[in-house]
């Protein structure tokens, strides 16, 4: 398979006067795990939200497997795609949120099979088989009939991952998926994410879990003030960052001083 699965070019996003993303270029290869780190407010979440068009970019282009996201070219000019097409494009990108956002009026299984049933039109039996398989994969088959209110935070987040996987996306976006969880609950979610990465899922992960980044990421992207400060394999970024601001950030989150470059 040739070419990156996601390509971002000159991405800018402003909220009113405030420019949050100031020209981002990024490529993600199929099967790659990219961890995005950076101080709070640097635009990490906004970047992810632009990637599945929950936020519309102010400028710049995003390609998903060569197809322009949210826009299309007509007579040499860029125009917005009809909403239905954007909805279809979104089905290729799964997203997991910091606050889980499970549908509280549906059971765990109901949450997982809702989109395959209603969006893809999968027959009930088929959707249910898929749902059960995914719940088993995140270790929650025995909780399939529980409503979210009766699940722990970690369990809820695992259901949310299963829900996103049910659309069989090509890319998964994780937006601080463990920040709202206690360490031990965070760990069970991280284990699921680790498993996904091992199976070759393409992932973009915004996180403060530096252990996960070090262990799982193929590449770490450091964002600062809406631009890519630097990027590279975790071994380089964590031990020999080239930018002083990266060192500054890592020192704060790791509470240790990374080895000084010579």
């Amino acid at each position: 398979m040739s070419g990156p699965i996601i390509r971002v070019e000159g991405l800018r996003k402003s909220f009113g006067e405030r420019e949050v993303l100031r020209g981002i270029d990024l490529e993600v290869a199929s099967g790659e795990v990219v961890v995005i780190i950076g101080p709070s407010g640097c635009g990490k979440s906004t970047l992810l939200r632009c990637l599945n068009y929950l936020e519309e970019p102010t400028q710049g282009r995003i390609w998903l497997r060569g197809e322009l996201l949210g826009r299309k070219e007509r007579d040499g000019r860029l125009v917005s795609r009809p909403e239905a097409e954007v909805d279809r494009q979104r089905t290729h990108i799964g997203m997991v949120f910091q606050r889980f956002n499970l549908f509280p009026h549906m059971t765990a299984l109901g949450n997982v099979i809702e989109a395959p049933r209603r969006v893809k039109g999968l027959p009930h039996a088929q959707a249910e088989a898929l749902g059960l398989r995914l719940l088993e994969r995140v270790g929650l088959l025995d909780r399939k009939d529980e409503y979210p209110a009766r699940l722990s935070g970690g369990q809820q987040q695992r259901v949310a991952i299963a829900r996103a996987l049910a659309m069989e996306p090509e890319v998964m976006l994780f937006d601080e998926a463990t920040s709202a969880l206690d360490p031990e609950l965070a760990d069970e979610v991280l284990q699921v994410m680790l498993g996904l990465a091992r199976e070759g899922m393409t992932m973009l992960v915004v996180t403060h879990e530096m252990g996960f980044a070090r262990e799982v990421a193929h590449r770490v992207v450091v964002l600062d003030a809406g631009t890519v400060l630097e990027q590279g394999p975790p071994s380089v970024i964590f031990s020999q960052p080239s930018q002083p601001r990266t060192r500054e950030f890592l020192r704060k989150v790791l509470h240790v001083r990374p080895e000084d470059p010579r």
């Binding site: 599945n52 929950l54 909403e83 990108i93 949120f97 606050r99 509280p104 009026h105 209603r118 979210p148």
Partner: protein
């Protein structure tokens, strides 16, 4: 429980709203008012008589609070005017059909074509003659009626008294002229019906009534606590009111009346209705037997109408309210504007005004003539929808933004997410404010009495007036309490079921 809206939410906005109304109005319009023949524009020239004879029905408006001229007995219109109308109809070769109206709206109903004539002891006055034509059929004087132990014989003795009259009557005008001439009436109290005047004096809310003589005599015979103490005015003419453009009808009625007079039929009617044997003190009945024999059958009938109005307008109001709420939070400015305008209009004006407008003004402005039930349902539904729309909007906006984002991220369209994810979560928080709204609505239905729709309070009021027994209002109170209690019980069960689910 899932809400399956059988509509495509994307196109809800104006189109759906208009469609719903468009569907609703003709259905309602044809759904009731079995009494009226197929709608014929009132202005069809040259042929009111032909039209009536083709339909076989003469529609006669009466204000049925005026015994012995016109009143209801066991729910049926009876009285001198009623018999006279039947005689006239017979001579025109048709049957008379009675439309019971509130006195205040009775002229407007004629000019907007709801019926053919008014035969309801209407005084012929210059002001009214500018609007309609009259065929004079009697002369009537006014009397003072008060309770035993008082003595008010002359105009001057009205000074210092609280005087009850029926609104928009010659009596009221006459007392006002007295006041202008310097008679210091303590207070002039106009009531919508004659029966309220008597009830007012009986309960001490007024001291004396000025009213048409036959009516005063009827009540003083029926209840011997009333006495006639004086007489006012020279006798004044009363007439049958007919629309000016229906000159052929006026001529035919004038001729028919002459016939009735010459044949001695009129004299027979007068003797029957004014002769004395009528309205002789009915044997006083105890509260319980009176309630079970007379009151409850009619209050229950009224309760049926009240329930119909409450459930009907509640159902339409919730449906329309949801559409308006969705339009109100639409991403399109134009659609939002329409919703805001709708809510502003219907929350910003009194329900009573909307009711009167739909019943009386629409026929003249748009040619849309709704029967009392249709007009009542329409006004109540449109009004309730404005309030319910805001209830829906508040509930929708109270759902966490993350829910919509999660649904959209899965590839769901906005409308699918709204239908499957957002709206079902609003159910439980909707129940308390919706029950509140429906409880208010069930009591607002009593306003339709102004267009003479016989709901529970209207029926009770008629009974209280005709029999001069205001204690029957207690039954209506119990009726409303039952409706609201049933609503709350239903809501509680629903809430408990949703609670078990966890949302």
């Amino acid at each position: 429980m899932n809400l399956e809206l059988g509509i495509t939410l994307r196109r809800w906005g104006i189109a759906a709203g208009c469609l719903l109304l468009g569907l609703l109005l003709p259905v309602l319009a044809s759904g009731d008012e079995p009494r009226s023949p197929p709608a014929v524009p009132a202005t069809t020239s040259g042929g009111a008589l032909a039209r009536i004879q083709a339909a076989g029905v003469l529609r006669v408006a009466i204000d049925a609070t005026y015994p012995p001229m016109e009143f209801l007995e066991k729910g049926q219109p009876v009285g001198f005017d009623v018999d006279l109308a039947r005689e006239i109809a017979r001579r025109l070769g048709v049957t008379a059909e009675f439309v019971v109206m509130d006195w205040d709206g009775i002229l407007a109903g004629l000019t907007s074509g709801r019926y053919d004539i008014i035969l309801s002891s209407m005084n012929i006055t210059p002001a009214r003659q500018q609007q309609v034509d009259f065929v004079e059929y009697a002369r009537m004087s006014q009397v003072f009626v008060t309770t035993q132990g008082r003595n008010i014989r002359t105009e001057e003795e009205l000074a210092g008294q609280r005087v009850a009259v029926q609104t928009n009557t010659t009596s009221q005008r006459w007392v006002q002229q007295l006041q202008q001439r310097g008679v210091a009436v303590r207070e002039l109290r106009p009531f919508p019906g004659a029966t309220e005047c008597f009830a007012a004096v009986k309960s001490g809310q007024a001291d004396v009534i000025v009213i048409d003589e036959p009516v005063g005599r009827f009540f003083s015979r029926r209840d011997d606590s009333f006495i006639i103490t004086g007489q006012a005015l020279e006798p004044e003419p009363i007439g049958i009111a007919i629309n000016k453009q229906d000159a052929d009808l006026t001529a035919a009625i004038s001729q028919a009346f002459g016939d009735i007079q010459r044949s001695g039929e009129l004299k027979r009617l007068s003797e029957h209705w004014f002769g004395g044997e009528l309205g002789q003190a009915a044997k006083p009945q105890g509260f319980w037997s009176f309630s079970s024999e007379v009151v409850l059958p009619r209050v229950l009938q009224g309760l049926g109408v009240t329930l119909q109005l409450t459930l009907g307008s509640g159902g339409f109001g919730i449906t329309l309210g949801l559409l308006v709420a969705l339009a109100r939070i639409s991403r399109r400015r134009g659609i939002r504007g329409v919703a805001v305008a709708y809510i502003t209009l219907f929350r910003g004006t009194p329900l009573l005004l909307q009711l009167l407008f739909i019943f009386f003004a629409l026929p003249l402005m748009l040619g849309v003539r709704l029967g009392p039930m249709a007009a009542g349902l329409t006004a109540l539904s449109l009004n309730a929808a404005a309030y319910i729309a805001e209830i829906f909007r508040a509930a929708i906006e109270s759902i966490d933004k993350g829910q919509m984002e999660a649904a959209r991220a899965l590839g769901m369209s906005h409308e699918l997410a709204m239908r499957r994810v957002i709206l079902p979560q609003t159910f439980r928080r909707l129940i308390p404010p919706l029950v509140n709204e429906l409880a208010a609505l069930s009591k607002d239905t009593s306003l339709v009495m102004v267009i003479a729709l016989p709901e529970m309070l209207y029926e009770t009021k008629q009974l209280a007036g005709t029999y001069l027994r205001p204690e029957v209002y207690a039954w209506a109170a119990i009726g409303y309490l039952i409706i609201v209690a049933a609503l709350s019980a239903l809501a509680q069960r629903l809430e408990r079921r949703l609670e078990a689910r966890g949302t």
